[in-house]
Symmetry: C2
Subunit: 468 residues, 2 copies
């Protein structure tokens, strides 16, 4: 990894060249680089924590001066018990994952001695723009190398000392591996994001990891494809038949286990029939946890009559914008819906297509909901907070996508790959086929493992040597 003050054009071009070398490294070579990064960061812990302490000092001053939030300061701290070790373990976890590239995912015999294969490969060059957490740089570096992608990293300035220390250690560690140093570049120049976003000739995918404002800015500014989500407006739909105890358990988790998370529920839709039965139990539990309930007229009236006086006084009337707002806080909008159809229509219109859930014992209603809701993740009888790469079994995630193409929901290594079509023949040509000519066989073949011969590896080594 290089720490660079080069221009965005130079950075992007160098990453592109490096990416072609990285793309042809073997699984073993990429895993060896991950092991080297892990070991170097383990040895360099004191150095990194000393740099992190500087960032923390500046951040604490800024927090005292009121220009930085206390929760952001907390996110900067790499010295917190277990955090550094988690970062190190994360690199080893990624190393242990199955190699996502060079997998044959389809094979077709087009004709005798003419075989088409679809083989997974890296996307190319990633641009990762992220905010304060210093450990992200290690996570992203591991994911990029494992998936064979070059990555340009641009982090928030609050962690600049920590980033520089980590990047410098990674850089030294990579020098002894097969990974070209230009494959990972930490951009240290200020005010270059706009220019980086213009490098669509060299950068293939941009992943902004940060708040709504950053993501919207990136999406509106660049013609590079963007993977991620701006909003996490998740809805939970409570049907009248669902038991109050389970409903309470799920909704409390969905709203209060981490209100700042993008997968927290922001809107509760309630069957009219549940207004005076299940909802009061759920609402009481939410109010006890300190959640503000912003109720539409029907739920407001229903709850007013069915809560104790103190709780009823805490209810608020929802404004129109409350059903298009990501609160990221102990606030929940409640809307009454007369039917499943209304719930589906409301969610497809007002949710951010991130994660939406139905709570019901009726399997026909549930399956209709799962089918009709147009969101990345759709749940039946569980909490929207489940939307997470680690929980889904991906080991780790680069983010959660609400895009409609490529990769949707939590994005793991697979989302950092694409495929190429490989066609191997023996001088067959297009004009031989069609009217009166040869016929296509189009026979689906079993997938075959992809293995490189030692000769091929030698040729690839020469290719890399020629270009480094």
């Amino acid at each position: 990894m290089s720490l660079t003050n080069a221009t965005p054009l130079e950075v992007a071009r160098a990453a592109r060249i490096g990416s072609r070398q990285l793309a042809v490294l073997s699984t073993q070579e990429r895993n060896a680089a991950l092991a080297a990064i892990h070991d170097a960061l383990a040895q360099g812990k004191d150095e990194v924590l000393a740099a992190n302490a500087k960032d923390l000092e500046s951040a604490n001053k800024a927090a005292e001066g009121g220009t930085l939030s206390a929760s952001l300061v907390k996110r900067l701290d790499l010295g917190k018990l277990g955090k550094y070790e988690d970062m190190l373990q994360g690199i080893l976890d990624v190393k242990e994952l199955e190699d996502p590239i060079n997998k044959t995912t389809a094979r077709t015999l087009l004709d005798d001695d003419l075989t088409l294969s679809r083989i997974t490969c890296p996307i190319g060059v990633l641009l990762i723009i992220f905010e304060a957490r210093p450990e992200v740089i290690a996570n992203i570096s591991a994911l990029a190398i494992k998936s064979g992608n070059a990555a340009i990293l641009k982090g928030g300035r609050e962690s600049s000392n920590s980033f520089a220390a980590i990047a410098s250690i990674i850089s030294k560690a990579l020098a002894s591996t097969a990974v070209p140093s230009d494959c990972l570049q930490l951009v240290q120049t200020h005010n270059v994001i706009a220019d980086l976003l213009k490098q669509d000739t060299y950068i293939d995918l941009c992943i902004p990891r940060g708040g709504n404002k950053l993501v919207r800015y990136v999406k509106d500014t660049t013609t590079i494809p963007v993977l991620g989500h701006a909003d996490g407006i998740c809805c939970t739909y409570l049907c009248a038949d669902y038991p109050a105890d389970k409903a309470t358990k799920i909704i409390i988790d969905a709203k209060t286990s981490y209100p700042a998370g993008c997968n927290s529920t922001e809107q509760l839709l309630v069957d009219t029939a549940a207004l005076t039965t299940t909802l009061p139990t759920v609402a009481q539990a939410l109010l006890q946890k300190g959640v503000s309930l912003r109720c539409d007229p029907a739920s407001f009236t229903g709850l007013k009559a069915n809560l104790d006086q103190h709780s009823a006084n805490l209810l608020q009337e929802a404004g129109a914008s409350d059903f298009d707002t990501e609160f990221l806080d102990y606030t929940l909008a409640i809307k009454t819906v007369p039917s499943l159809t209304d719930a589906i229509t409301h969610i497809n219109t007002h949710s951010s297509h991130h994660t939406d859930a139905i709570l019901t014992l009726d399997s026909a209603a549930a399956n209709a909901f799962l089918s009709a809701i147009d969101s990345s993740s759709v749940y039946w009888n569980t909490s929207t907070r489940m939307a997470d790469g680690q929980r889904y079994g991906f080991g780790t995630e680069v983010g959660i996508s609400t895009n409609k193409i490529h990769s949707r929901g939590p994005v793991g290594l697979e989302g950092l790959t694409i495929y190429k079509w490989v066609l191997v023949g023996d001088a067959q040509v297009s004009a031989e086929y069609g009217a009166g000519g040869r016929k296509w066989k189009h026979e689906v073949l079993a997938d075959e493992g992809f293995a490189r011969s030692e000769e091929e590896r030698e040729v690839l080594r020469k290719f890399r040597a020629g270009k480094q």
Copy 2:
């Protein structure tokens, strides 16, 4: 299908609402709509051809006046022997393809009674901008309905009478089916492309089918993801060991079978060692077919000395821009490369990442090439003209993508789908897991067919009825 003069915003919003109804139709319902379209277009042939004759008349006048090319006029003609029947057969072919949506592509047991499934689904709303060929409207309609996507179609004005006739017949045919009419809309208003490209709230994917200028305009103008390719600069790399007869056969096909095709070879890279051996044979055949050869200095000198006098006089010296040009004509740029590494580097820098081929008997070199070339399709010993959805066995294609994400190379029905994550539980919540709590099982399960119960279908029918 409706023929509409509504505003782009109204068109896009209606398509979005329609798309949610279409997404939950059964395979049978979507196939029945394709059968209805097929039958209606078969019956309405005279009506369509009469409208097409009007377009042809205007086009011929424009061609005489020099404002339209003769080849474009040819592409307008639906009355050409077999063309209308091919269009009809195309609809039936799409109907017979496997349903691309509602397929379970992965299943994981996260914990007891907590199962995660990845299920394919439509993308949503497609915007298809296309040029003159009138049959495209029928092809695209079939692909959109089959994949459960709504489509907004905006065609070139040269075919406006044909488009209107086809659209009107499709519209009447769909009225008796379960497909809502707003799912297919033919926009007839002029000068609305810029405004359509702004509807990123409602449109999920844009597919421009036309020349480089149209595609570049679309890519530069919209924040909607764009699928397609602007250029088709394909390269063929001829190694010295490859037999001259096979090389000639492949390169003649790659250059001359359809020079206007995006998959035609525009650049021939030649091993230094082949300059005076194989290349003269290949060059002689190309010159006989009327291909202009634009040679770099080494190939120019090599060929000059090894062709007969007449042929040698036809050689041209390549200019710098010839190695970044899509000729779409009987023109081929020839470049000498001293090594495989140089060939790979040249192609990764100058090709448009569409389709590139190596001709060699050396499997190590070939596999290194296939691995190192960063293009949608990479070939060994066959013609770049093979890059085509029908040839790949997709039945049909919506275009060829040089994108690095989502879908690459010829794009069939699969490229019009995405997936959603469906999680079914029994009141498990996120806070139960992790440090000291429950452990994730993350057990990979066999894929299970996706089947809807009659009850679920009934609920979905009600949902659709409520919204239509």
